[in-house]
Symmetry: C2
Subunit: 221 residues, 2 copies
């Protein structure tokens, strides 16, 4: 780690010296936080984040006054990533490939799903806003697929969210093999989501889940 710090000046020629190190640490910390909290859950030790970022604890606390603050920022950042994935999906030519890609990307982004954090931090206005945007975009992706008749009619945006959420639950220490397995399972689910002539023979059970449930997941503080 000493080595890293020593080498630091040569990495990004834009800024130099301490300022460059600081900028790099900014990014590293967020990435590390994402990996740690999404894989180990919200009560992973803050020290683990610092360690993973190759940085002292104080350096972390200089940026985020508190663990909760870090988690909140993380949430916003993740929602933005979801939005980005949705925009990519909307830009795709084929509506089905768009949707499928959206789901895959969100799931892959994996360390990014914040389901494990849900309910452990207070809801900030910033989080609410980012969530609204991301939700709306996801709606568009799903609506487009529906309009094209490629998505089974009885599946809703919430169902898609639930898929992503479920597959974002990961073991504490994921292995490469896990990723492969997940890929197969996601393919399986996507296959189930596809519009087919026999869909009416095997309808999804019950009523479509309401958005409330999903919101609640986050609201409860």
């Amino acid at each position: 780690m000493d080595i890293l710090v020593t080498m630091s000046t040569s990495e990004r020629p834009r800024k130099r010296g301490r300022q460059a190190e600081a900028a790099r640490n900014d990014r590293r910390l967020l990435a590390a936080a994402r990996e740690v909290f999404t894989s180990q859950g919200a009560d992973a030790p803050v020290s683990a984040v610092a360690e993973r970022a190759g940085v002292g604890i104080a350096t972390l606390y200089r940026r985020y006054g508190t663990k909760e603050e870090l988690l909140q920022k993380l949430t916003v950042s993740a929602a933005e990533q979801y939005s980005e994935a949705a925009r990519t999906a909307l830009a795709a030519e084929d509506p089905w490939e768009g949707l499928a890609g959206y789901v895959r990307e969100c799931v892959d982004f994996g360390p990014g799903s914040l389901a494990p954090i849900a309910g452990t931090v207070r809801f900030t206005p910033e989080m609410a806003e980012a969530g609204r945007v991301s939700d709306r975009l996801a709606d568009e992706v799903v609506a487009r697929a529906h309009a094209a008749g490629v998505l089974r009619a009885d599946a809703t945006t919430i169902d898609v969210f639930l898929v992503i959420e479920q597959f974002s639950r990961r073991p504490p220490v994921p292995t490469p093999a896990d990723a492969h397995a997940r890929e197969r399972l996601v393919a399986l689910v996507l296959d189930g989501l596809r519009a087919r002539p026999d869909n009416t023979d095997f309808p999804l059970p019950g009523r479509p889940p309401s958005a409330e449930r999903y919101d609640e997941l986050w609201r409860r503080d």
Copy 2:
């Protein structure tokens, strides 16, 4: 809770008094342990188990000398439950309904999937044996579905396990709405697992996952 204890004598006429209470506590403790550990993970406090069972901590420790011992017993009991579900599946007339029922039952049994515990306890011979039996039975269920041509050809027993494992990952405090959502998602996956003429157009990506990965999950102590 006082009430429960007081009422105790009337519940099971077989045995009476303290012995009956003890027998009841035996069952309650295992059930409570299952619910707690599977929903909150293996490092849920032992006290939570006792509380959920409506029993003092000492009562728990009188039966299981240590937390690890409790987890190990739990594992065995879960494997047996899986085996039982497989036997039910094999007894079903329709091979597809058998398989679908197996998956649903294992997932529902949910508090029963021990994925969250994997890797946190030492592997006992008893666990190994129970696992072997359960694996073999699951193989039979899948083989029967394959033989009947109702399960997509590129899906393996391991895939089925992975489905169950993935859907057994639950939020810490599951709500009734969660159960409903899960039901829909499982239906989706099952629909994806069904043999269809167009299966070859959308094959599962990659090679079938090896059993090793699944074993490793448990072996690492």
